[in-house]
Symmetry: none
Subunit: 194 residues, 4 copies
DNA sequence: GATGAATGAGTATTCATTCAT
DNA sequence: AATGAATGAATACTCATTCAT
């Protein structure tokens, strides 16, 4: 029976190697060495190189979803929920730099290879944002004239670009969290009647 | 003397091929065939494969800068300038789909290879946004508590993510233009005193 | 574990192919086919094409040294030692035509690539000649006014040129052995006092 | 009409480049640049790359023959003739280092390509040695039991090996001239009857 | 004659994947 | 299950030669 332990070791190693070298420049043997298994062993757990990337991504996304869902469920206030999402996303990137690299660089890199690259799991993650915005609109807290899907997209784009700059230049993430929160609260919150 | 015409033909062909296949999966011979020159001819004009990508990117970015600068100079109102930038960027992507692909996929794809990839030229482009925001703040039209660099980043991220979705799903770009304008005007514009 | 057998098969094949085509005109795939392995397999055993040539040369030189050293150790008379060296060298070339080609054509061919091409191992081989000459001088058999290094050089040049002609024209090697022996005995042996 | 001047410039340039890089590593464009002509111009004077090498070699050999023939004709004594040949050969190498490289490295390098590489002209040069030896035998000065062709070969091999060492290590050529003269006089001269 | 831009055949080397052990 | 030696397809780049100007 395939060992879940080995499967995990390979995922971890692959995340590291993909983050460091990029999908195309990563070698199977790099991953094997990092995971301390033989090259051939990898093919007992994954169909091919792309499959490894997809698995890495799916698994990490799953974790993100679970974590942030819990946080959101514990909160009533939609404005605070928005803050929570922004905060958690960027903190998660900071906590797992390799994941950050994999998400916003490698995923795009392989996008030509993956038909449905922003697949179910990742869409679910993005939809957590959509749900917050919609809830805000329904509660009359967020402006009703903003398209939910567009806002979701814009927010994710902003988050992603922010984490890219952090990766590249080591900019201040805490400041970014505060600023993005401010920016999107401004953008979304309904002006209270005088 | 090397023909500028051929240089141009190769750039065009490369943009097309990179957009279609991605940098790593593009073959020099694909580009040569598309440009209707011999493989070797490419090396009379470019040092290597990466150099082609860089040249494509630099040239197209230059065009973007020139075009949008002209449009912005002809406008006084900062809010309208913001609208102009958003509108022009997405329309330029629509007009040159290959460029769109190259910008937001290929550039990241090769980012591991290019140290300063988002270098000079592209930074200049992004700084056009920063200039608008700053001008707005100075004129008292935009909120002063928003960090210019952060806002620039967020806006570009939103634009980029939007064009990505358009590339992937063919979403409605005109609606996106309207919505992003609305969203960022909300986010940035100072609430007038009652 | 890499098979020593395969290493050997590749060396043999390379010797043959280099001898037949020359270093620059030999193709890795020629060697692979001759050795009945895949092209890639060669790179499990050798770093690159030049490394193959060097390995071939080093190994064959080693064999020459071992064989002729044994023969020389079994002989006391220096004049006979000289004869033994000349004889063995040319007979070895005759026995292994490919080696002959590699030694005096390929080695020079690649000499621009190899800094210390006539390095260690081959120098050792040449020094066997020097040792004989020196011993002859010390025993008062060979003329003392001849420079050992020069004589060594001249003798090797003569042997090498002889084997070249044999390769090119198939001249009579046995006659050459007799004649070279005669020539160098004349050249080196001290005239006995009347 | 083809300019003899340009032909000469190319020969000179080729000698230099072949000597420096070796035949296979020399580029036509290197030679063209060195000769200050266009690449294509070379093909107005030579059929192909190998033809250049052959022409270089033939022309330089011709010069050697003419020069040494004059010197030999001015001398009666065969022993002195032998000395003259040895001296002139090594001095010529010293005077034209590039020629030396071309003769003993490049020629062998291309030997697989040239069927009759040691062609007529070069054979003529070698036969000057044979003629000296034969004359010596006929005059009763040189030993009659030495085969003329073999002796010629041995002498050339010794000269060639000597110039190789000079090229590689910068050894003392004057000493080499003296020693080789001594060695081959010993080898060839008939012991005077008591 | 002279040029040099254009050509395109040619090849060492890499690396994902397989499979005998 | 695990190994890692073996495979061989795949490709960026070079350079001798040509030929339109």
């Amino acid at each position: 029976m395939k060992s879940p332990d080995k499967h995990h070791k390979i995922i971890l190693a692959a995340t590291k190697v993909f983050a460091k070298k990029g999908f195309f420049n990563a070698r199977i043997s790099d991953i094997a060495k990092e995971a301390k298994v033989a090259d051939g062993t990898i093919y007992l757990y994954f169909a091919n190189k792309l499959d490894i990337l997809l698995s890495v991504f799916a698994q990490e996304t799953e974790k993100l979803i679970n974590k942030v869902t819990n946080l959101l469920n514990a909160e009533e206030d939609v404005q605070k929920k928005l803050t929570i999402f922004i905060t958690h996303h960027l903190q998660a990137m900071r906590k797992n730099r390799s994941l950050a690299e994999v998400i916003h660089i490698e995923l795009r890199q392989a996008s030509k290879l993956i038909k449905e690259y922003r697949s179910n799991t990742f869409s679910e993650y993005l939809d957590l944002m959509a749900a917050i915005i919609q809830e805000g609109q329904e509660k009359g807290v967020f402006r009703p004239d903003i398209d939910v899907q567009l806002a979701k997209l814009a927010l994710f784009g902003a988050l992603d670009e922010t984490s890219r700059l952090w990766l590249a230049r080591g900019t201040d993430l805490d400041k970014a969290i505060a600023q993005l929160t401010l920016l999107f609260q401004n953008a979304l919150v309904q002006q209270s009647a005088p």
